[in-house]
Symmetry: D3
Subunit: 315 residues, 6 copies
């Protein structure tokens, strides 16, 4: 049968996206008790999917969730979905690939549907077309960040190395940042006042030719971030990890965020202060170019072209 | 038309429960960016629903979410659902009533379904039959609590007065508590080491005839808790709010949790130490009896009867 | 001799304002090591000057600064300055009265002027005409506050009960708040995330008819605040002091700041959210009216009239 | 005209020191809202002035103060002042060079002088003869430090990398330290209990041949400290930066403070405990000698000679 | 048999003091894992012994130590020891009564004595003659306190309501305080910078006629402190409990410490600053007199007389 | 004379163990004010005793305790005791060697024995046969750790680099851990939620071939830990020190504790999660084997043999 919509893996079954539903009493919705991953394809080939799944298993072990699938199972499932769903992409498109595991159905509300609740975790793998039009303008002009009053969660309340979906504090922080600048995202400080990360991305900056990152213990160990560090290593760019103060960040030569959908984005304004000369800088271009070379396509160009030609902005 | 399944209100429409779905890219599932409430009925009449909705509006204002409905709208919607859905209850049953509002559909993944994302918050009201069998045994023998190493979120990371569904830290805490005792729930400490609340309930204790609560600033201002304080006031039971130390809690004469589904539950063991004589105490019985009188039915008896007779345990 | 400019008391001498200078190496300028007070007159009579000076002596004792003057000395000096300087006021004007004591001249730089440094604290009393035009519009339309990422100093770094002039953190906080709204002032949170005070004022709010203040231990014990509490006591308005969460503040029925120059100012917007109905409320009017009665003049009217008639805005 | 007193740059004008005044309502005096730098000359030549000014501009960017002068402007102004003022020095003397920028005149009090307040930042450059007699004895016998109960400001309250003049906590800390020992300065701990810096200097210690510094994120990035690290690098002395515990400090082989006026000072007693053998050690002598070589003069000898011969102690 | 030395209860046996030994590997010595109490007699009658033992049992429950004795057992044992040992007191003397329970013998070292280790807690009750000469001078002239840099343990590290003997931080704090003043004791601050208690006593102060205490959650709930509060209640002295800032303490009208051996001691100097007029004040005399009345003897006189007449100072 | 029991050094005298007693009012027992060390022998030869004594002197300097003995004195005393006491060991046995110094006799209780209190610190050196049977099973099957809710003391309350015996928080933590698993020890988190150490051992883990330790500033600088790092250096095993998150620890390839009596112990379960494959791993074996080679005997074999053959388990 020809399926003209994307397929989704959900709790052991592969089904059309339009049939992929969670009950209203899934712990993912009721408690945000969800561990997740997001990878992407370049030219329809998954990028560092093994690294993403390795992090997924690390998160699951910490959360004591047993998803009942092996790494090989997940690779196969993800591969099958990509193979099918990529065919539905527009020209020049690529996929995001999501795996998530929730704590299953919450017994408290489960009488709602008049059937016994599933007692194992909810496991889902799905894809989505990367929405390049969301990033294109910022890739060219630079993103804006603001440090809000809301702080990042301390490790005492849950390990920042777990990628999970209880992100209300990120949501609140972004709303606060947007009071300053509707285009801005929040760059959260930790309880001590040091810079950490954004809702969806790691933060990196350049200081006298050195690539600098906040201390890893306070942030998600991003795969995109790891890719940037690998590229920097190959390019001979020195790297340093330390507690980052706001003064140092405002005085950076360059700054960027790294995240799966867009890889590397220049940051040109923080707290209303222009970073460097207020434009994407040479280190940014060098790193993005090296990344493009690694994946055999021009990452920035894909974003811009897809955005302004192949796809229609949704909003 | 005769509908034989519960109705759900979702984004402006009232639909059968089996058709009430959120897309996989709703912010409630992707970020836990959900503000929520849960009330219940006694004999099919909502209890303090206005108080619950008032708290909902307070949470929404803090999260800057505009649900597009007034208090009156919500009262009407909730009332209609209760009227319909209560008819499907077994004898002696009652309903939980849930309102939740998420930050809407997340644009990043929204290309998945090939339609533009809804740009307003997701609003849902639904009910579920209260699962008395989950509480019956603990109502009689007492619940067990354990203080885990995971701490409650500090106010700096989001106001504890907001009822939201980013609750991974609660989930982690419960899993830790269950290492000690599979029956136990977590009683979370704050960063300073003071007692706060559990995943789903407020904590109260009795010390030389005085009802004592952790400081309100660190916990959800529970409606059940407020009900207990009102009842205590009427019964002339003195009340005190203060930072509670673990030593004081272990030496309490009685302890309980309060929560919407079961109202008031005795706690008989904390960190492996029996509280008082290890059995539900006189203050517990007095308060629950006063509450029963207020709502015109025996709350404890409903739980036990429904649990052992009218319903089948699901697990 | 007729002096046509204000007089200033400086280190034992009373001199014309134009001759009142501190050297560039005074500790007040070099270290912000300054304890200070500000009172005001109503109809040219100092208001609660004794309370202000009492707080000054408390601050000095804490800072171990010996100003070499008694309470009586200071009352006399302040009284003399007011008597003289008030004559220079425009119609309807009133004076601010400042006392400050610095740690004296800093030996390190003192060679600059080729004379031995004074080794005792610098003591200064001066007045200034209250600039009503700075407050008039906000008194009518309401002030705006924003909670910035910069936190208030914790007691471990210096007692918040001392009124001192090392206020860079307040300055930084205000600049941050003004990114959101050029009209806004910063409402600083403490390290735990609770609301404290603004650069120049205490914060109070109204919740179901109760006047509520942040815990005194975290804020300056303002004399204007004390006046409001006294008035509230006389009017039978209940008062409560507690750790204030941001959610509670955003949901207040009314909010205000209290400060010497303008007494009581309505706050109508916090973090972009309208407080109450977004206009000065009844409790505000009631308290300001009681205060006006106490001092025998209409405080609000003075502000508005002086602002729009008697004085020229300076900026 | 022959000017026989030092010149000062103030808000665009170069004037004799005796005419250089700030009004009593300058933000530098009212709020300690001042960013500043201090460099020095060796044999009348400024030392690393560019590094100092670079740090000044970093601080200004963080504080969002626009001084309206470029780096070149400041170098020129500073150079002119040094050229003129050095001629007034006694034999063997050298200059301290100060740049400071305040937030300008505070509108609240500005009516005092009956003229509109300047609305731009206050900018001042001045010099002063280095007071070697303040340091000479300690350079020979060693300084004493005490860890007071007052803590250093955490980054959450303002970046420690900004050199600013809101230093009341330093003042309080020094007064506390002097309760133990009138000769002592405070060595402040951070909120966690780790060693940071003193009011006017960075702290360094020697442990088994390694030069050790507190973590940079908690302290001012001192130019003198950077000079010591450069010298250590040239001399092959290993260097380490880490959180320093009090126990480690008390057991150091040597300890010193670094600061612009005296460069490097041995610390021989901390909290009443002798460091090493209680005398300036070999690493101290080695580093000071290397520094002396770099600037072409004997730094220690200048201090001692100037102190006991060329200048009169002022106190 | 006539025993001419005090008796001691140790692990079930009553033995002469000279035979009462713990092995070197008792957990009390190896880990400070000891819960303890100290009461005293007035005219050879134990005072509030029941309250002390009640607190002991609370501490034991928290530490999960089972001493194998009931309240009645302990009352009897303590009574017997007092009856016997009081006969050995000098004229005018009184006894301290100590109960302590350690975690028993530490298995790791227990091979030392070639016998299997006792596996139950070590339980000891003993008395000692109160050493009035240690307190007499301070009772008349006032004690001195100093706030050291060492902080009191936070509740997160063990409940301050437990009376235990792991007191190294108190020891370190006292040594630090004695750097300032050999007569001084440490008045420890908590991590936030608020005043808590001393090594051996609770702290109280008087402010405008009100007796003020630090918040109970941060300090030991002293029996002497409770006695003072009871007496204050009877005398109509208002009482308040709150976070106490150092500024408020330095500006107190009076201050005292309360502790079992001496009951109530005036504090006349804190951090080198005289409290009130630097002499024991009227509230002190009033409270001590009420206490004396309650126990039927002049507490202060006993101290002074015993000290200067009946006993020889030991040091 | 032939002594058939171990000798103990106590306050200047060498006496049979059965005569080595501390009075009940020694500060070691009353306050836990004790600094201590524990070394061991391999084949009756002390191992790195100099390093242990060096750390002892560092601790004493921090605690300001003067034991009145030099390093040479202590080496000689310890050597003599080992020489004598080792003769009493069973075949294959070895000694633990303990030095401890307390703050001496507490004056408050010292009247108890009717003799003036010793006013100098209590100094004791003793040995004990290593109880291999306590460790043998865990050396083979792996130890279990649990992170309890009780936190490790922060440096602000006393330096973690001091080895002292105020360890109630460790005792409480272990009791909490044993609620989860009677075999488990506590792995304490710091206030921020990072992993530190256990009651009696340092913690190390292996991550992709790298040996990883928590940051030294938060833990005791263990001599066994230093030995492991030395061995790792010789074996070319890379080493890293950083803040360790719980997620990283649960995902370690291997984990161990290091401590004087048993040297290196595999950890196979943490918080109920198996580490690696749940068995002692290759890095463990490699390091223990290198250590065995260094001391000329098979450390693991000694433990197992002595445990199951030469000695009788005591419990």
């Amino acid at each position: 049968v020809e399926v003209t919509e994307p397929l989704v893996y959900l709790n052991g079954r592969t089904i059309p996206a339009s049939e992929a539903h969670l009950p209203l009493y899934d712990a993912g919705l009721v408690q945000g008790a969800t561990v997740s991953e997001m990878a992407r394809t370049f030219r329809h080939r998954p990028f560092r999917l093994g690294d993403h799944l390795d992090r997924l298993f690390r998160s699951l072990r910490y959360a004591r969730l047993d998803m009942g699938l092996s790494m090989d199972d997940l690779l196969a499932i993800s591969g099958d979905l990509v193979a099918h769903n990529a065919r539905l992409l527009p020209e020049g498109g690529d996929l995001g690939i999501i795996q998530f595991v929730t704590a299953g159905e919450v017994r408290t509300y489960a009488g709602m549907m008049n059937r016994p609740p599933r007692t194992t975790p909810t496991v889902c793998v799905h894809t989505f077309p990367l929405m390049f039009e969301l990033y294109a303008r910022k890739m060219q002009a630079g993103a804006h960040l603001v440090t809000p009053s809301i702080r990042h969660l301390p490790p005492a309340c849950g390990d920042p190395h777990m990628k999970c979906r209880s992100r209300m504090h990120f949501y609140l922080a972004d709303r606060e940042a947007q009071l300053v600048d509707p285009e801005a995202s929040a760059l959260l400080l930790d309880l001590d006042g040091h810079v950490t990360e954004t809702n969806t991305a790691n933060f990196l900056m350049v200081e006298r030719g050195v690539l600098v990152s906040p201390r890893l213990v306070n942030i998600l160990p991003g795969i995109s971030r790891a890719t940037v560090l690998d590229l920097a290593g190959k390019l001979g760019i020195p790297f340093e990890e330390r507690d980052l103060s706001v003064l140092d960040v405002l005085n950076a030569d360059e700054a960027f965020t790294t995240s799966t959908p867009y890889c590397l984005m220049p940051v040109t304004k923080i707290n209303g202060v222009w970073i460097g000369d207020g434009r994407p800088g040479p280190m940014y271009r060098r790193l993005l170019s090296a990344w493009s070379q690694e994946v055999g396509m021009d990452i920035g160009q894909q974003l811009v072209q897809a955005s302004f030609a192949g796809q229609q902005p949704l909003q």
